[in-house]
Each structure stands twice: as C-alpha cells, then as structure tokens.
Amino acid sequence: MIAALQCEYRKFFSTRMWWVLSLCAAGYIAFFTAMMALAFHFAGDPQNGLAITDSSWAHVLYSMAPSYGYVFPALIGAMAITQEYRHKTLTPTFLVEPRRSVVLTAKFISALPMGLAMSAICMASAILPTALIFGLGGEPTGLGTAETWGVIVRMLLALALWAVLGVGFGTLLHNQVLMIVLLLVLTQLIEPVAQIVALVVANVGDPAWWKDLIQDVLMYFPGAASNAISGTSFYDMMGMDFMPSALPWGAAIAVLAGWGVLFGVLGYLFTFRRDVS
C-alpha cells in the first residue's frame, strides 16, 4: 500500500496538471473575492449603505473559496482516475499493482492530502485579497480571532473532502469531460434549482411537508453538506438562504465523505474491475 501511495504521488507531480490547476484556482478565486471585497468596501457607507462592522462580512468573502472553488479539489481527486483512463495509463498502473482494490484505495487516501493542499491554495486565494482590501479600507477581517480561524479550518475541511468525492465521481464515470460537466450540473444547477423549487412550493400553499421533505432530501446533497461544514455560505449572506435546515457539521463531513466512498464502491463494482485493453 505504501508503494501504491508513492506511485500515486509520483504520478500526480510528474505532469503539469497540479500547478496548472493550482494557478487556475488561485486566479479564479482571488479575482472574484477581490471584486466582491471591493464591492463591499465601496457599498459600506454608514449613512445609507451596508454597515460592515463585524467580521461576518469577511467570513462571507472567505466562503467564496468553498462556494466557488470546490470544483478544484474535486478535479484533483477525479483526475487521478480519469487521466488514467484517458491516456490508457491504467495498463502500467495495473501491471505494477494488479490488485485493483489496492490501487483504488491508494487513490482515495492520496487524494486527501493533495486535496488539502489544493484547498489551502483556494483558501489563501480568498483570504489574501480580503485581508488586503479590508485591511486598507479599515473593515474588520477577523483574522485576529480564533472564531474566524475556526471558520477557515472548517472551510478547508469542506474543500478537501471534495477531493475524496472527486475520486469517487471519477471512478464511477471515468470520462473526464462527462465527469466535469456532471459535477457542475449537479452542484450548480440541480441543487440550486431544487432549492428554489422547495422555496416556491413552500410559499405557494399548504403542503408545508413538501418543503420539509425536499429540504430534508437536499440536506444530504454534496453541495448542501459542503455548505453545512463551512458554516457560512456566500448564498446565505446574499439573502438567498433557501435552506434553513442543514446538517450539523460533523454529520455533514460524514455525508460528503460518504458520497465519495459510495461513488467509489459503485465504480469499483461496476467499472474499475473491467478488462483493460
């Protein structure tokens, strides 16, 4: 198993993917966080605008990383699988380690630290522009408080778990393009749409149990679980809080990791053991 893990790390760092993805993640998150921080800064007018008096505004900016950046650790995890299918490198991989369960387990385990590293890049890309803009503008960044760092650690954890989910997703689909598209569709389209439907249904009429039912189901979706771990969602703060019910964050960790493992087990049973030709 140690050898298999070593192989995974060497595969990971021997292509350009890791630093290209890191640069993309850093640029993307830093840009949007900076835009948003500037918007807050200039809207923060004591007379008629936002009153940015506590660090919860900074927390919202930090949450840009898990809200928009989750796809990067997910890609780190998923591409450990999909790249092997795409470039037919499963042949050397399985020649070196013919026990496929060992290969898959190594991919899951190695995804955690690599996902964590990517998550740290994502968080730093949200924290640095916020600290710079709010620091110069005189708004509280909360970076001196343990509470803020607690929030940051939770966001880091939420992000890193997406790498595990990514491995599972990649195992199940193993088509790189399909995997990325489905991941985005599921988290960016299906989840929000379902949340809006829940809201509309609840406001339309009596059957409040409909809303409860939909919300109870949605709680267990990866996006909702991720939000539950990080605690502060960008959507929440923008007044788009359709989801009053959320899992406790410990349970949410189990749910998010559980999705990854479930996908991985299904992928192992149905595709990963197939013939490689």
């Binding site: 060497r10 993917m17 013939d275």
Partner: protein, 355 residues
C-alpha cells in the same frame, strides 16, 4: 517458464482466445505469432491480469501474475506503445512505476541509458516518436530486472538499427536464462531472434515447435506440366515425392526441386512442357499455417498432423476466387517464372504490411 493452460477469452459472442495452451521455456526466446486479430494481445493481457480470462490460467514459474509479489519486477511487460501520459517525461513515467517494483531512481536512469533514451530522459513522452515510445516501453519492462519478459510487437515503429538492437538485447537476456516471449504478426521480423515459435490463428494454437523444426517443414515445391501427367505422377511416387494436381492441369510436386524432377523425367524419357520451382520460404510456411495462402501456393494440402482437427481457415480464405479455382481456358503459367529469392518484404510497414 510461462505456462498457458486452456486459456479462453470471450468478448460477448466473439471467442478471441480459444482453449489455448503452450509453454515458453527459460533461456529461450519464444516467438508468439499470428495474424492481426488472432488473439495475441488478448492472451498477453490475460496473462498479466489486465483482462479476466473466461477460463484457463497463465502461470509464471507456477504462479499467476496477481499472486506474484512485486509482479512487475518479476515479469516485465511492454504492451502497445500508447500507454503513456503525453505530459509526463520519460524519467517521470519510470519513476511513477519504480516504488511498486522496489527500484530507485538510479535504476530508472540505468534502463533509459540501456534503451538509448539517455538524452530524452527529461523530454515529455508526447514529443516522442513511435520508435522512442517503443524503447521507453522496453525500458519500463526491464526496470525491475525481471526473469520473464513479455513484449507485444516490440519491433513496431523501430528502425532497422532499433530492430538489430532489440535482437541483441533479447538474445543476451535469453542467454542469462530468462524466459522471453515476443509477439509479432510477421515471422520475418522475429525470425532471427526466436528459438521457438508458437503460432496461433483465430485464437487457437496452430503450431508450436522450435524454429528449426518449423524450418524443416519448408519443403521444396515444383510446378510441372507433363505430356503424360499420369506417368509423371507414377514416377514421382516411385521417388517418394508427394504429388497434387495443380489447377491449370499440371502437377505440384512436393519434396523435390526442379533439378531433381528434370533429371528424373529425362532419365525416364518423359516429356515435360513446364518445370518451375515454387519458392516456399519460412514466411510462406507461416502464412500457410495461419490460413493465409500466398500467391505461390494455388492449392495446397497441409501435411497430415500439422493442422489440428477442427481447424478451418478464415472464411475469406476458405473459398478462393473463381480465377484461382478454374483458370480461364488457354491459361498457362508463365514458363520461366521464378518467384523472387525471398517472398518477404525486406522491411514491412508499421502495421498490416503483410496483410
């Protein structure tokens, strides 16, 4: 030693490998031969646990690939040349395998030097030529200094220099007592390398012997048109030569060359109208065994015992086109026709050159 025992692999209704059994001995290079699509790659992949056999088993010194510890260090395999991440360097590819074989980075550089990729170690594989990929594949196979080597079409894409290099390398490794199997769809490509041959077609074993025994099966054949064919047939039989009627009304005599037949006919006072040697090289023996009849063999019945019962040539070859079965009236073979000394192209194209 590699033992393939009753290996069968079915893909849906297609039987790619059909009850195949053979043995590759240590200290010898075994050529695993057959036309494209005959099941060679499927057999090798099944041996390496990459595909699951429908039935049967392949063992390396008595154990299945999956049962070996650090299997890639005991059995080195080079399959098709496309199993590389194009963005990974040559050394990066080998280093990503090294921990599973228990070898260090120094050894990775060693094998790159060995296959002549020293200067390309830090080059990305995407920029490699087909021949360089082939060499990198061989380097990966050699990485763990394995006792057994399986190489699938190792000469593909190699220049003549590369083919000579791999010949020497494999001869040297066999001399050290290793078991080596190389597959090819062209016997001529590996003729100078192999000691033994295993020939398959349509997933079945057609022939297994040493190369020398295969060469011994190559008997001279001569096309003869005589004024009195019956008399010539009697003469040939009295000399112990086998005779078959040829489609143009002449005879094909096996086991005697034109000189011997001309002399015998002259001594017996028989009148000959045509006498021509039909060259049968090793490749032709190979094609005959795998059911691909060359132009030099209009009608040929394989000697008894060579073709296992139940074997049928592929559908396309079972029935020759009408032009072969019944030549147009007035047709006569060109009198002085002698096929070129070797029926083999000096250098075949990368793929399907012999098809």
């Amino acid at each position: 030693m590699i033992e393939v025992r009753a290996l069968t692999k079915q893909f849906g209704s297609l039987v790619a490998v059909n009850n195949l059994s053979f043995v590759a001995q240590p200290g010898r290079v075994t050529g695993f031969l057959g036309p494209n699509g005959s099941g060679k790659t499927t057999t090798l992949r099944a041996a390496l646990g990459l595909i699951t056999a429908t039935s049967g088993v392949v063992t390396f010194d008595g154990r299945r690939y999956q049962e070996l510890s650090k299997p890639a260090a005991q059995v080195g395999a080079a399959l098709e040349a496309s199993s590389f991440h194009p963005g990974r360097t040559a050394i990066g590819h080998l280093r990503a395998m090294a921990p599973g074989l228990g070898v260090d980075t120094r050894r990775c550089h060693e094998v790159l030097d060995l296959v002549g990729l020293h200067d390309a170690a830090k080059k990305r594989v995407g920029k490699f030529s087909l021949g360089m990929r082939g060499r990198l594949g061989v380097a990966a196979a050699l990485l763990g200094n394995p006792r057994t080597l399986l190489l699938d079409e190792p000469t593909n894409g190699l220049d003549p220099e590369g083919i000579a290099w791999i010949r020497q390398l494999l001869r040297a490794m066999a001399a050290e007592g290793r078991t080596i199997v190389i597959s090819s769809h062209l016997l001529s490509e590996v003729e100078q390398t192999v000691d033994d041959v295993v020939i398959i077609a349509q997933g079945r074993l057609i022939h297994q012997s040493s190369l020398d025994e295969l060469k011994a099966m190559d008997r001279p054949r001569t096309h003869v048109v005589a004024a009195d064919p019956a008399a010539l047939a009697r003469l040939a039989q009295s000399r112990g030569w086998e005779v078959q009627p040829a489609p143009d009304g002449g005879l094909t005599v096996y086991g005697a060359d034109a000189n011997a037949i001309g002399q015998a006919a002259f001594a017996a006072g028989l009148e000959l109208h045509q006498l021509a040697s039909l060259h049968a090289g090793l490749e032709e023996t190979f094609l005959r065994l795998t059911g691909q009849f060359g132009l030099g063999a209009p009608v040929f019945a394989a000697p008894a015992g060579v073709v296992p019962p139940g074997y049928a040539p592929p559908p396309g070859y079972a029935a020759p086109p009408p032009g072969y079965a019944a030549p147009p009236p007035g047709y006569a073979a060109p009198p002085a026709y002698v096929p070129p000394p070797t029926a083999l192209p000096p250098q075949a194209g990368p793929e399907g050159g012999a098809q």
